[in-house]
């Protein structure tokens, strides 16, 4: 008797669950981020995720009337985690590159900054590489690109350069600095910054948008941003939202959301708030 009742109750639940409209079940969109890449995405002292991308993602979800949930994930495993459906989108300062496009899709870009080297202010490299200079496009083999790379190679020959694992900057060192510098791979840029300060690496290579705010904080007050910035080519076409290959529905949510927020100036306002400069791209 009671077994029948239990069965009936379970069957009822099952039917009720199946009867929910499909889109109501999917209303919670999970966004993966690193939480260790200020000011893009960081974890505050209370353990809460904060940053440019957190604000931007939340605003997109609000405008599109979608429940969003953030998931923190180490950067070097973030694409495998997306593919394994641990979340539905990546907002982690991830640039749209050909290499990544082989595995995942991206929304339209929402920000982009060049990659650039940083050294200790007291390091001889600060003078050898020179102050922060123009952006060099890496897309084509131009004389300007060759001159910039030659100058960099001459200054950095035999040095140790730190970079975050799985980033476009690691790709650049593999493609252009192999045999010239010794590369050390870090789990986060925060740890890389610690080791530049400790003098364990001679230089670090990361996005300008990471270095600039870092130099204004205690941890980065001894750091100088040096040399040419690099963009284009292997550095990709700016930072976009990563989605699973073929997941057109999620891609559309972010494409539409970003188009609207770019048009009304929200992306620019958030960029100015977090980066102190306009990092938006079209």
């Amino acid at each position: 008797m009671s077994r029948k009742l239990v069965f009936a109750a379970l069957a009822g639940l099952f039917v009720a669950a199946a009867a929910l409209p499909a889109d109501a079940q999917q209303r919670t969109l999970r966004i993966g981020t690193e939480g260790a890449y200020a000011p893009w995405n960081a974890t505050d002292t209370a353990g809460k995720l904060v940053g440019f991308e957190i604000d931007l993602g939340n605003e997109i979800c609000k405008r599109q009337n979608i429940q969003c949930e953030w998931v923190a994930q180490a950067f070097d495993g973030i694409i495998p985690a997306l593919v394994a459906r641990r979340f539905d989108a990546i907002m982690a300062g991830m640039s749209i590159t050909e290499r990544r496009l082989e595995t995942i899709d991206f929304s339209q870009p929402y920000a982009g900054t060049p990659s650039i080297f940083a050294v200790l202010k007291t390091s001889p490299l600060a003078a050898a590489i020179g102050p922060a200079a123009d952006r060099v496009p890496m897309g084509e083999d131009t004389p300007a690109r060759k001159a910039a790379l030659d100058k960099l190679s001459a200054a950095l020959r035999g040095k140790t350069v730190g970079v975050q694992r799985a980033t476009i900057q690691e790709g650049f060192l593999n493609d252009f600095m192999k045999g010239v510098v010794t590369t050390r791979l870090y789990d986060t840029n925060e740890n890389l910054l610690l080791d530049i300060n400790a003098g364990r690496v001679d230089a670090g290579f990361a996005s300008y948008s990471y270095w600039l705010p870092a130099t204004e904080k205690e941890a980065g007050r001894n750091i100088a941003i040096v040399g040419n910035g690099f963009s284009g080519g292997g550095f990709g076409r700016g930072v976009g939202v990563g989605v699973r290959k073929g997941d057109a529905a999620t891609k559309k949510i972010f494409d539409d959301g970003l188009a609207e927020l770019k048009k009304d100036g929200t992306v620019k306002a958030l960029a100015l708030k977090w980066f102190k400069f306009d990092a938006t791209v079209d």
Binding site: I79, T103, I104, R165, A166, L185, L194, D195, G199, R200
Partner: protein, 229 residues
């Protein structure tokens, strides 16, 4: 479906990290053993100071995660200007030495307890017999106590060796390119963690298989009384 071509491509690259892994393991086990013996003797000594020191050391390194110890030694010590100005900096500056130091201190604490257990398991009757035969001091240790204690401690110690081989994977978090470090870098370029970690896991499995066999053989060699006649 598994990408077997990728696994075949990754295998030699990851295998190249085995040397670094084994060097870390061998170095840590050797240094750890030299820490363990005095720790075990101090833990059972009559001096309260020695007992307290050994107990504190064992408590700290068994009671905190190895990852935390590695981070404390590598990122923690490196932040102090005094450390960077000291004579130890040429060593502490290098990730490899920091990893070796952390692994050695960690295994030293565990092995210390294993050695202590081995020493305690030496039957009092055998020590008495040795004394009656006129042995004492170092001779008693060398001929009677140490061989028996070593033999008794081997099964527990083989556990420690196997867990040390696996623990070296944590060195990848401080930029060392051992098996796991190379595997993670491979994943960052291919986005295929299952294939790559299967290859890395298989290499650890084979290493541990041989380590266990080796220790088993040593145990058999030291236990002639247990061999079937």
């Amino acid at each position: 479906m598994l990408d077997f071509a990728l696994m075949a491509e990754a295998f030699p690259a990851i295998l190249a990290g085995t040397g670094t892994t084994l060097k870390l393991v061998a170095g840590a086990l050797l240094c750890g053993f030299f820490l363990a013996v005095p720790t075990a003797l101090a833990a059972d000594s009559r001096s309260r100071i020695l007992r307290g020191t050994a107990a504190g050391y064992v408590l700290f390194f068994r009671g905190t995660p190895l990852l935390v110890q590695i981070f404390l030694i590598y990122y923690g010590l490196g932040q102090f200007e005094a450390v960077r100005a000291s004579i130890f900096w040429p060593i502490l500056r290098e990730p490899w030495w920091c990893a070796l130091l952390a692994l050695s201190l960690n295994t030293g604490a565990y092995t210390g307890e294993i050695v202590r257990g081995g020493l305690q398991s030496v039957p009092a009757g055998q020590i008495e017999a040795a004394r009656a035969a006129g042995m004492s001091g170092l001779l008693l240790y060398r001929r009677i106590i140490a061989p028996i204690a070593l033999r008794q401690a081997l099964p527990a110690y083989s556990n420690e060796v196997v867990s040390m081989i696996k623990a070296t994977a944590l060195a990848s978090t401080i930029t060392i390119m051992e098996i796991t470090g190379i595997a993670r870098t491979f994943i960052s370029q291919t986005f295929k963690p299952i294939e790559i970690f299967l290859v890395a896991g298989a290499i650890y499995l084979v290493l541990n298989f041989f380590a266990a066999q080796l220790l088993r053989a040593l145990e058999r060699h030291l236990s002639p009384h247990r061999r079937p006649i």
